[in-house]
Amino acid sequence: MTLLEARSVSYSYIAQQAVLSDVSLAVPDQSVIYLLGHNGCGKTTLLEILSGIRPPQAGSVRLNGHDLYHISSARRAQRVGLVPQMHLPVFAYTVRDVVMMGRTPHLRLFGTPGARDRAIVDAAIEQVGLAALRDRPYTGLSGGERQLTLIARGLAQQTEVLLLDEPTAHLDPRNQHRVLETVSQLAGQNVSFVISSHNPNSALLYAHHVVVMKAGRIVADGRPAEVLTEPVLSTAYEMPVEVIYNEKNAARAIMPRRTNGA
């Protein structure tokens, strides 16, 4: 069953320079979808359009069959969440304050978070392993810790679909592992994820579905084994790519091929 779907969306920030051209993407339930592509191919824009904050200039986005942009933003935010790339806010909120913001769509008109919200927030913080930093100012954390905080916020939002924009960009392997394992686990429990990434290897490990974009268009779309091949990737990234198979456990690794030297 398709939860979230983009149908033939197009977008351009500047006239005549399309960032997205006729892009269609379907997010089934309980799945993890990886979005790969070179810098500037439109991944972030697509995620913003999918999340409901940027109306497409052509095409439509549907949530359970209904036009995403015709439902109220509060209801939409209860169903679809977006974890942006990092940023630094002006005020020194604590980690807990930031993650608590994820509960906003579930609050009433003039409401403030209650005990239940606090419990969910604490659980989300626990899930990304930041319990020790809960009361520390967000602005004082390392890049990776901030990223984990934003992910926790996304988790606290308790949506059906969570879109993550390069969530592991600044994380060490251990934290990457932790985040993606959590994602996998939650996917099994009725949350779907769309993850944009520059790491094809984690796509190999965690994705149910991979979409490759180039210059605003989708050039490949399918299961990881089908899409993450040398011809597709080298075309997409415009560089030589080598896929290494380990016959022992049928795993693969994707490596760039060196062009100079051995």
Partner: protein, 355 residues
Amino acid sequence: MTPILSRWLPGACVWLHAEHRQKALYLLILLLPLPAAIYCIGLGRYAIPTEDVVRALLDFALGRHDASAGPDIVYNLVTRVRLPRIAAAMFIGANLAVTGATFQGIFRNPLVDSNILGVTSGAGFGAALMLLLVGDPLEVQLAAFFVGLVAVLLAYSVSRLYHSAPLLVLTLVGILVGSFFSSLTSLLKYVADPLDTLPAITYWLMGGLTDVTLGDIPALAAISLLGMVVLWGVRWRLNVLSMGDNEALALGLNPTRLKLLIIVCSTLMTAMAVSVGGVIGWVGLVIPHAARTLVGPDHQRLIPATMALGAVFLLLIDTMSRTLLPAEVPLGVFTGVVGVPLLLVILRVNRTGWR
């Protein structure tokens, strides 16, 4: 200060959580205004014993005052001079402080106060114009109020013409509109009769609560309380709004509408404050910072704390202004002279202690 305390109460400091301390500080701040008001109403250049103050207040509150018994200087001073001033100081202080905090939030800029969209400059111009033309105090207040609103309307409308970088454009246009009205005010000062109109304009612009009467209080209280309730209601959303428009959108808010609501509310409150008390600077800038240092940036606590601190701050300033010297010192003088060292002290104390 803090090292002394930790020597005295080593045991207490051990089991008294940072969190409990912060909560205690927060509650203390919220409870400050009422005792401060009660204390300050007993102060003044005309010495009135405490029991007479209390009696006058009770008579006033219960409507027991017997006007036919002849002029009662104590009753007059307590209810017609001190009481309105204290009420006005607290409402205006709370207004300016909380609107400064909310604007800092929605503009994501800790260096702004509610005049960023020009409401204070516009109100100043409106007042100066009325002083020049008519001089009637009521009309001066009304003009200040409405021209303040017009200034913000102008800033907001003009900024909507530009579609890129809305926040930056709004800030810039606001500054421009503010400067525009300030220049017009200078023009009025130039044209004004230097014997009487010009000093009147200058004194009005310097800010002061000398002429506040009981009649000014109902409108001020109504708008202040209304505005404060609304801003208190959206205090949580301000957190989200201050993270950025896109994130606010993603979290299900409508940032444009919310900002509009906050701007309208804050502008009404500020225009009301300026029309009664003139231009009082520093409060909208300094108090939110002080509050943030004491209770943290979370607007759930920041908004109420700013209101309380703003009320108490201006109350103290006004009390000083009316008791220290025979002549009144304009409020604008004290807010800077007192506010800056106070802020420095707060920053210092907080750094060595509580967290």
